[in-house]
């Protein structure tokens, strides 16, 4: 056991180390652009904007007042539209995958019924769904939400099934000998005992939701970070592409933090979320 103070200073040291690596990456990026480096995979660093330019554009994208064009200050509207789609798709995926996963993990018959279908659909990547989705749903928000739901569904489902299967049989026995009904064994024991695993699945699903967002929003959508990146690429605005990437990365990171800390806030001291 480390004392609280040494634990805290060690944590600060690790944070400083992580920050140092980030600064190093940005520094290399800067030098690479200046020196027109050509790296492995024929990466032409000279085609990239400099970090400082990107930072200025990012500021303008968020708050305006630098370039004052159609792009200035529109970050929040794009982010708002994208967040709505991510939440809708992710929420729908969670609402479907958690109950199905609990039943599949608990009951062999349900598992036998759904497992083959799950294993056939799961390996089909979202990119392969896009042409079909555009044909049967059409361009737009609904197609994006559908793709997000589809992609987030499987990691949540598989993590839930795994977590339910790993619930120690002892806890079920304990509940049974205390006179717990079958329904309550499921609701009061299996579900809470699997919660740490389910939360892991939710985190993977939410991360994937932001990944798939760009794919879904690349067609026929006006507002959204994905559509903003797609438009920037069509206009060969590398700087805007990089800004869009940074914003999506931050949004994904922040949404994960909000999910974890939100759940920890709900659960309080109950050990239901794995410490990260």
């Amino acid at each position: 056991m480390t004392s609280p103070t040494s634990g805290r200073s060690a944590a600060a040291g690790r944070a400083a180390l992580g920050f140092g690596v980030l600064v190093g990456i940005v520094g290399l990026w800067h030098l690479g652009v200046r020196g027109q480096w050509v790296l492995v995979f024929d990466i032409k660093m000279g085609f990239l904007p400099e970090p400082v330019e990107v930072a200025r554009l990012l500021w303008d994208f968020a708050f305006g007042g630098v370039f004052d064009d159609a792009f200035s200050g529109t970050l929040w509207q794009h982010l708002w539209a994208s967040t709505g789609r991510v939440l809708a798709g992710f929420g729908l995926a969670a609402a479907l995958a958690i109950p199905l996963g609990v039943l599949m993990g608990r009951y062999r018959l349900v598992h036998a019924a759904f497992d083959p279908a799950v294993n056939l659909f799961r390996p089909i990547p979202a990119t392969a769904w896009v042409p079909l989705v555009l044909l049967i749903i059409g361009f737009g928000s609904q197609a994006t939400i559908f793709l997000i739901t589809l992609s987030a569904f499987f990691p949540i489902l598989l993590n839930t099934v795994g977590a339910v299967r790993e619930v120690p049989p002892r806890l079920v026995e304990a509940a049974q000998m205390l006179g717990t009904s079958r329904a309550n064994v499921l609701l009061k024991v299996i579900v809470p005992a699997s919660t740490p695993g389910i939360v892991s699945g939710l985190r993977i699903g939410l991360g994937l939701a932001w990944v798939i967002l760009v794919l879904g929003e690349s067609n026929g959508i006006e507002w959204g970070l994905g559509s903003m990146i797609t438009l920037a690429r069509e206009q060969v605005r590398t700087d805007r592409v990089v800004v869009g990437m940074i914003v999506i990365g931050l949004a994904g990171f922040l949404s994960d933090r909000i999910l974890v800390h939100g759940l920890k806030g709900i659960f309080r001291r109950r050990p239901l979320v794995r410490s990260t």
Binding site: R170, L171, E173, A175, Q176, G179, S181, N184, P192, A193
Partner: protein, 266 residues
């Protein structure tokens, strides 16, 4: 601070009778292995019976069948006059690994059974509080099991089943994972609780000293699938040492040695 009177909290006037008749358990169907066979036992209401034997002799299997976690392949089991068909709140089980719900506080764990069986929240809380006090954990009522030592967790597990007012207490090597000092202390407390609660106790252990210290009768099981003979009861030894037992007394040691010889003779 005086502990609350247990007899006022338990609603059973006396424990349940346990009747085991020609019990057998075979794993793996017709060509399978007999874990136990021909086990018959009649335990009086309120009696404390310890089951001892080497690993694999089937003593835990017997307890799990009494609990209703496993179905016998042969014979009959009755508790309180009713055939055992599955786990139920009339038979409280204390496991070696506690089996507490880690996401519930001590108080929530102890009132879990009461709430599941429909006891109103307030009443369940009062009963739980009393049993938490009985096991001396009032200060820890709002802690989670993961924050407690092994001995404290086992106390919670005991309070949890006692609060549920079982006719029979089934204990499967409950102190096996505890250090020697804690173990002695828990044995002492269990005897006190047993005297006050008046439930029937079936206590499985591999410690003969523990069995002699706690029980009215010691059931010796021998055999087991690994020995080629199904696990069976080879001896039943009454413990006539009175209430205050001294593990260092000559008669205690003599009885312990006698039982030990029978355990190893199998």
């Amino acid at each position: 601070m005086s502990a609350p009177d247990l007899s006022r909290l338990t609603r059973h006037t006396e424990g349940g009778r346990v009747l085991v008749d020609d019990l057998g358990k075979r794993y793996g169907g017709a060509g399978g292995v007999d874990a136990v066979a021909g086990v018959s036992l009649d335990i009086a209401p309120g009696e404390f019976v310890a089951v001892v034997g080497a690993s694999g002799c089937g003593k835990s299997t017997l307890l799990r069948i009494l609990a209703g976690f496993e179905a016998p392949t042969r014979g009959r089991v009755e508790v309180g006059g009713r055939p055992v068909t599955g786990p139920g709140p009339d038979r409280g089980v204390v496991f070696q690994d506690y089996g507490l719900f880690p996401w519930l506080t001590v108080a929530e764990n102890v009132r879990f059974g009461l709430r599941q069986r429909g006891t109103p929240r307030r009443r369940a809380g009062q009963i739980a509080d009393a049993f938490i006090e009985v096991v001396g954990l009032t200060r820890f009522a709002d802690r989670f099991p993961g924050e407690l030592s092994g001995g404290m967790q086992q106390r919670v597990a005991i309070a949890r089943v006692l609060a549920n007012d079982p006719a029979v207490l089934l204990m499967d090597e409950p102190f096996g994972a505890l250090d020697a000092l804690t173990r002695t202390q828990m044995q002492h407390e269990l005897r006190r609780l047993y005297r006050e609660a008046g439930t029937t106790v079936v206590f499985v252990t591999h410690s003969i000293e523990e069995a002699v210290y706690l029980a009215d009768r010691v059931v010796v099981m021998t055999g087991g699938a690994a020995k080629g003979v199904p696990g069976h009861i080879s001896d039943v030894v009454p413990v006539l040492l009175g209430e205050d037992r001294d593990v260092n007394a000559a008669d205690f040691n003599a009885l312990e040695r006698q039982i030990s010889e029978r355990v190893h003779a199998g």
